[in-house]
């Protein structure tokens, strides 16, 4: 009998708290979104699974000695996992479209307004009773507007580790929701005629330009914003491995096995931060609202900047491509292409949107560097 009592005591049934059940339901929801709706499945599947595991009573996945605890400490507390993902993304990124048309960097800059406006908004939310964000937390939340997963995770792990789960989930979810969030904003801010603008074909880019690009970005970052060098540096390392052509086997490994292994662990570790006591708070709701606002403002700022550039250039730029400046690579560029095609079936904007799209990655890494320098 005693053995059965011990066993019963060791079942979850006897120990569940409501919050844990809710969080498991949330984990299942993330799995549903990942598998059925195919929302960023590479991240949301392991995050959802990690969220379920971390909320199992008595199993201790995220306690000292638990597997998720080790993975979190090794990979996220040190910042290593998001940096390795960034290296892999760098090795996967072709900057050709941006090098051919460097002015697109302005769109990647403008879209970061989503970040800084949201930072202001988060602080303003302190006026709502029950919500309290300090400047570090507000900055970590605001980076959701950068629409870049590893940047958000890296910054959150430095500035507000307690909010990491909610921030990462919001960032990846909204990145998956880009096809729903962006089009109405894009259409509201542009005229039908503007959306029909066809753009001139991009010039070719030499391999020398492509090799020098990551080095020039790195050098500028070193000189003017060293706090951004972890993110930008690893990104440039990956891109240099890709473009140099002399370390093919390292580049392929960074793009495939290494990024895959790290993605599994990163997802699980992020999920492990979704414990009931840290997630089920008014603050989390605030994060979800602020994240959506950040995406919307970033999109609007990008489109408006593109509109301005369109006017100044005498109508050579289709303002839709500004929306790709939030990054969310390559989803946002695809959305631009789709909205463009609706207005003009011969208008393929994909390549033109790739410029602002990858510019947005640099833009939000720079923004993260500014926040680390001033708030961190």
């Amino acid at each position: 009998m005693e053995k059965l009592t011990i066993l019963w005591q060791s079942t979850a049934l006897a120990n569940f708290q409501l919050g844990q059940l809710v969080m498991m339901g949330l984990g299942l929801l993330l799995l549903y979104l990942a598998i059925v709706r195919q929302f960023e499945p590479l991240l949301l599947l392991p995050i959802g699974f990690g969220a379920i595991l971390t909320n199992i009573p008595l199993a201790g996945f995220s306690d000292a000695g638990g597997m998720l605890h080790y993975i979190y400490m090794v990979g996220i507390d040190t910042g290593v996992f998001p940096l390795l993902i960034f290296m892999g993304v760098g090795a996967l990124t072709d900057f050709g479209a941006l090098i051919a048309n460097p002015k697109m960097l302005l769109l990647g800059a403008a879209a970061q307004f989503g970040i800084f406006a949201t930072l202001l908004g988060a602080i303003a939310l302190n006026m709502v009773p029950g919500l309290e964000y300090d400047l570090k937390q507000a900055s970590a939340i605001a980076i959701i507007g950068g629409a870049d997963g590893p940047t958000a995770i890296f910054l959150a792990s430095k500035l507000a580790p307690d909010l990491l789960g909610a921030i990462a989930v919001a960032a990846y979810s909204y990145m998956a929701l880009v096809p729903i969030i962006q089009p109405p904003i894009m259409k509201a801010l542009t005229t039908e005629k503007e959306r029909q603008i066809e753009m001139a074909q991009l010039r070719e880019v030499s391999s020398k330009e492509k090799i020098l690009f990551p080095l020039l970005v790195l050098i500028l970052t070193i000189f003017f914003l060293p706090t951004a060098t972890p993110l930008v540096g690893m990104f440039c390392l990956g891109n240099l491995m890709r473009e140099s052509g002399v370390v093919e086997r390292l580049s392929k490994t960074a793009q495939n096995e290494l990024i895959n292994i790290v993605t599994i662990f990163l997802g699980l570790a992020v999920g492990s931060k979704m414990s009931a006591d840290k997630f089920l708070k008014a603050e989390t709701l605030g994060i979800l609202v602020l994240g959506a606002v950040a995406f919307a403002i970033g999109t609007a700022a990008g489109v408006l900047m593109a509109k301005l550039m369109s006017r100044l250039s005498g109508g050579k730029i289709n303002p839709l491509i500004g929306a790709a400046g939030v990054s969310a690579v390559p989803m946002a560029a695809r959305v631009v292409n789709k909205v463009g095609l609706e207005s003009n079936p011969h208008n393929f904007l994909l390549m033109h949107a790739m410029g602002p799209n990858v510019a947005g990655v640099l833009g939000s890494a720079v923004a993260a560097g500014v926040l680390l320098a001033l708030v961190g």
Binding site: I99, P102, K103, L105, L106, G108, A109, Q112, F113, I115, F116, A117, L119, L120, A122, I123, A124, N126, M127, D134, L135, A138, S139, R203, E204, V205, S206, K208, E209, L212, F213, L216, V217, L220, T221, F224, L225, A359, L362, G363, V366, A367, V370, L371, L374, V375
Partner: protein, 83 residues
Amino acid sequence: MNAAIGDMLREAALLMVVGMGVVFLFLVLLIAVMQINARLFAPSIQNTQHAAMPAINSGVNDEKLVAVISAAVHQYRKDISND
């Protein structure tokens, strides 16, 4: 509390101005650097055309090759469905 929030709001607003300023400055600087890079190393137009020509030709050839193979496969499938 209200006063504290006011202070933080002011700081956040300052962050917004400084932050957007730095982001723009940095990326404008990068545009300048890239334009120099392009002036030095961008492929000249003649080079470009020279490089592009054979690619186009081979593209045409490939299309023909695909057409030839498709026809053969089509014939093969027809043979099968007839027996």
